[in-house]
Amino acid sequence: MDVSISLVIFLALAAMAIISSLMVVVGRNLFNAAMFLGAYLLVIAGFYFLLSAELVGIMQVFVYVGGVVVVLLFGIMLTSQMINVRLVSALQQRVLTLVVVAALVGLLVSIFSKTSFYYISSAEAPRDSISLIGKLFMTDYVLPFEVISVLLLAALIGAVIIAREEGRQ
């Protein structure tokens, strides 16, 4: 793909990501916010494909859109009385938040624009990044991999115990 087309795709995806994430943050209706969160996560998956990280992109769709968003929608429907309740923070807090976040983002962006990344590698990504990732999971990253599996098991059991209704055996 030549540069101009991928740049157009990048800018379009970036615009979609920013708009959908803004809709999640400012939207009043939680269900709509969840829809926009799903759109945002799909756009991020699009970025992964653009960065030729197919496995991460498809796992993003699998885990986030198919799992996380659906679970969040469940949560919204089970607390459905809260769906349109307007909870507004104090003005003071809003102003302070905007100032702090603007300062943080401004700082980060100015750093990125001033840094020249010397380490940018010209090496091509390996053709079969999937088998590479599979090998890494079982060799260099085997400890984090095992820790994650224990964490997931703990989360599974913990979520069931917390959410179970009391008084039911």
Binding site: G38, F62, G67
Partner: protein
């Protein structure tokens, strides 16, 4: 078929930019796939009616067309001309978007499925995860339909459908890990090429888990808790009528076809069969419709499970079986 080099030459000599060529080819593929799905939809609906009628000692459709084969055309006309009922309390955008999401999820799932050697829209190297991941977007569509209609039956139906679909995604994905281990690839065409012996013989347990979980994913009886008519009218699409319902209907049969095609590709040797290569898609289609027939047979033979039985089957039977399958496959491969 034109080769890519010829296409490149054509593009260069006529001054067509490459991206326009790509977009044109992509549109052609999508159109072809859509037409094939439309045809498959008609065949499947006719087949479903005749199979169910045969199993229940009825005739099925007989009036429209020869042996009732044009019944679906009459149905389509009915769908198009029907009044578009819009519930006054529905969430307008979510209600409108839900059938589109379902349809898109089912259609996108077809993109990596091979119809024959080289006959595939996009042969992704993560094809196997793709076909599992993309249809899971459809679960969001189910919840949107239920929530958007603001109807108690629809909400209950969509909650049950979503719970069932998430639960069965786990054993369904795990049952395929054995195949990934044996084939050493997730590209669907390479998996077919590697099947000297059909994987149904190497992975009988995996096949059993996959097949049952597929039935549950498709929301077909005995797992049709999502639209159990005798419990809550029609589940998540209670409020949909006319063309909007038609979208759900089409998406349902598209996912049925995709699931049968996936089963044939993964377990039944894909397009392998005796005869010249030109017969390959024919063999594949025979296998696909064989699988569809078995799915229909099961649907019209067994009664419906209760929701707690469905959950128990998924988590307490299929999931351990899928894990045992991975373990046994690993032990046999390492010995």
């Amino acid at each position: 078929m034109l080769s890519s080099a010829e296409l490149l030459n054509f593009a260069n000599s006529h001054g067509i930019p490459l991206w326009a060529m790509d977009a044109f080819i992509a549109a052609l593929i999508a159109l072809g796939l859509f037409a094939a799905m439309g045809l498959g939809f008609m065949v499947q609906v006719y087949m479903e009616r005749k199979v169910s009628a045969g199993l229940q000692l009825r005739y099925g459709p007989i009036y429209v067309g020869p042996k009732g084969s044009l019944q679906l055309v009459a149905d389509a006309l009915k769908f198009i001309t029907k009044e578009d009922v819009f519930p006054s309390s529905a969430e307008p955008w979510i209600f409108r978007l839900a059938p589109v999401v379902m349809f898109a999820a089912a259609f996108l799932g077809l993109l990596v499925l091979p119809f024959g050697p080289g006959l595939v829209a996009k042969d992704l190297n993560v094809g196997l995860i793709y076909v599992l991941a993309i249809p899971s977007i459809g679960v969001a569509g189910v919840i949107m339909a239920g929530f958007g209609s603001k109807n108690r039956y629809a909400i209950l139906g969509s909650l049950r459908a979503a719970a069932q679909m998430i639960s069965y995604e786990v054993p369904r994905s795990l049952s395929l890990i054995g195949i990934i281990m044996i084939a050493g690839t997730m590209r669907l065409s390479s998996i077919v090429d590697g099947q000297g012996i059909w994987y149904i013989f190497l992975q009988p347990l995996g096949f059993l888990v996959f097949f049952v979980a597929t039935m549950a994913e498709l929301n077909r009886t005995p797992f049709d808790l999502a639209e159990s008519e005798s419990e809550y009218v029609n589940g998540y699409h209670t409020e949909y009528s006319g063309m909007r319902f038609g979208f759900f209907f089409f998406a349902e049969y598209m996912s049925l076809f995709a699931a049968a095609l996936l089963t044939a590709v993964l377990f039944l040797g894909g397009w392998h069969g005796p005869g010249p290569v030109i017969l390959a898609p024919v063999w594949l289609l025979i296998k696909v419709f064989g699988v569809i027939y078995v799915l229909m047979w099961v649907r019209w033979t067994f009664p419906r499970f209760r929701i707690d039985q469905v959950m128990d089957l998924g988590w307490k039977v299929l999931l351990p079986m899928a894990l045992v399958n991975i373990l046994v496959t690993g032990i046999i491969m390492s010995v």
